[in-house]
Amino acid sequence: MPSEAARAPAIPVGRQGMSRGLFGVMLAAPMLIWQVLLFVAPLCFLVMMTFWSVRNYKLAPDFTFANWQKVLSTGYFWDIYLRTLLYALLAAGITSLVSFPGAFYLSYRIPAGLRRSFLFLLITPYFTSYLVRIYSWKILLTDQGLINLGLGALGLGPFRMYSNLFGTTVGYVTLCFPLVLLIQMISLSNVDRNLIEAAHNLGCGRLRTVFEVIIPSAKVGLVLAATFAFILSFGDFVSPTLLGGSKPPTLSILMVDTVRSGSDWPRASVIAMVMVATLLACGLGALRLAYGGRKAGR
């Protein structure tokens, strides 16, 4: 495209229009202002809200630890907390395991054109209604669902795959899978091929190469992928509600119930804060796990 700029008289940078610095500030500012006012501030306000009190169903600014005390001192809160943690860990583990062979195949053993088509098929559903995808699993997983019908024809089942942990986990995997696969694939593709060649030349078997060369080299990405799966499952509301039957509840279900029963937003905020703190701790732990330990040369 022939630009008009090329025809303009040559003026040293900075003489024309405003200064470089001011121009930069004007470009940097919109995102910063938006995210500080409408992302950071709401989160800070949520922290503040945990110290407010509710009187006659009305929120009142206050500075009390009563909400924290109420939430943290109940036994069932910790039951739910522990369960949510375990569910999310399970989901992260299963998704990582299920996804790894696929990521491996996509990064090492497939021509680029075919890889693009596969990726397209794997990733587009990620942007389509998660709600409806989860709902659709019902068609397959219920006692009269398609899978049990098929198994019944073979004289098996029916297996209970719905309204329990199995159903919830299917939902979590549906949620996390594309992201995990993508991150795993990228990190596997970045493993130095020479290392793999070298391992082969030194007589290292296939499986051993995978476990002793490829996985350690791709560790950062693999841990990162599992962490994202953990974060997504930990905060998910839909799978445990629609596929798990919301009993027993998870933290997000408890939080939503607390919001809706009366207007006990301060207590819901405490739950949210506990979740944020947990995710931060797990995120930092994952970073240490990924980058710390033995420094693997790369």
């Binding site: 470009l27 995210q35 696929g102 930990f234 979740m275």
Partner: protein, 275 residues
């Protein structure tokens, strides 16, 4: 031989993965045309009654319209913010830049339920909640980082000297952006528009918290799902699938189709002419 066997096994595995991902979508689509009330076999015959029921339902129609308005506004604002932030990252170094980038990138890493609650308490304190713009505000917060990431990726492939050359030829910074940066990043800008539209069109958690009576379509679906099991959901779902798949596919095509061209070692200058 063993190698080929492993190859076939892995290919089969990938096929299983695809089945896992596509099965719910396909079954929902198939049963949206089922005449019976229950999504089970035997198939009760072909019917478009659920689509008719969905399209004549005024709550669903207004939800769809709300969703479209929110998605359109969100995508434009989020992409504009994403562009400025991506360009800031590409062009400038300044103290506190890592904090700037962290703030810009963080929102999608916070669970949407928590973002939703935070939005609700904050917006209602400021009397901002319960309207369509409340949803747009929340969605822009969530979507802008996606737009930024896409545009940043594209900018990182750009020859940094191109813009400087434009300056030396007398272009102001604004002109350089308009005539050099924007043409180069145009595919990713368009991709960001479509992708953020798809994300917003599908987001229900934050919208659920802040929308009040201005329900968007996913919120309507959620309410429907919590109340009853209706084959209408399959019909809405199929419509939603179609809309979001088209949006996301366009975004993917735009953002990946370009990169292929660059795989060939083409001089930067002729690359720009090709645009």
């Amino acid at each position: 031989m063993a190698n080929r066997l492993i190859g076939w096994a892995l290919l089969g595995y990938l096929a299983l993965i695809l089945v896992f991902i596509l099965a719910p979508i396909v079954s929902s689509f198939v049963f949206s045309f089922n005449a019976g009330r229950f999504p089970s076999l035997p198939w009760a015959g072909f019917s478009t009654q659920w689509y008719a029921a969905v399209l004549s339902d005024s709550a669903i129609r207004s939800g769809l319209i709300n969703s479209l308005i929110v998605a359109a506004c969100t995508s434009v604002i989020a992409t504009a913010l994403g562009f400025t932030a991506a360009y800031t990252d590409y062009r400038y170094t300044f103290t506190g830049k890592s904090i700037y980038m962290a703030v810009a990138m963080l929102p999608p890493n916070v669970p949407v339920m928590i973002l939703g609650l935070a939005m609700l308490v904050y917006q209602s304190e400021l009397s901002l909640s319960g309207a369509l713009y409340s949803v747009i505000i929340a969605h822009v917060v969530y979507c802008a980082p996606f737009a930024m990431a896409l545009i940043r990726l594209r900018l990182s492939q750009m020859d940094a000297d191109l813009e400087a050359a434009a300056w030396n030829l007398g272009a102001s910074q604004g002109q350089a952006i308009r005539h050099v940066i924007i043409p180069f990043t145009l595919p990713s800008i368009l991709a960001a528009l479509f992708l953020t539209m798809a994300v917003s069109f599908d987001e229900f958690a934050m919208a659920w918290f802040v929308s009040g009576f201005q329900e968007t379509l996913p919120v309507r679906i959620l309410v429907l799902l919590q109340r009853e099991v209706s084959p209408r959901v399959n019909a809405i779902g199929s419509i939603v699938f179609l809309v979001t798949i088209v949006l996301a596919a366009v975004a993917l095509f735009l953002s990946s189709g370009r990169r292929r061209d660059e795989a060939a070692p083409v001089p930067a200058s002729s690359q720009r002419d090709a645009l």
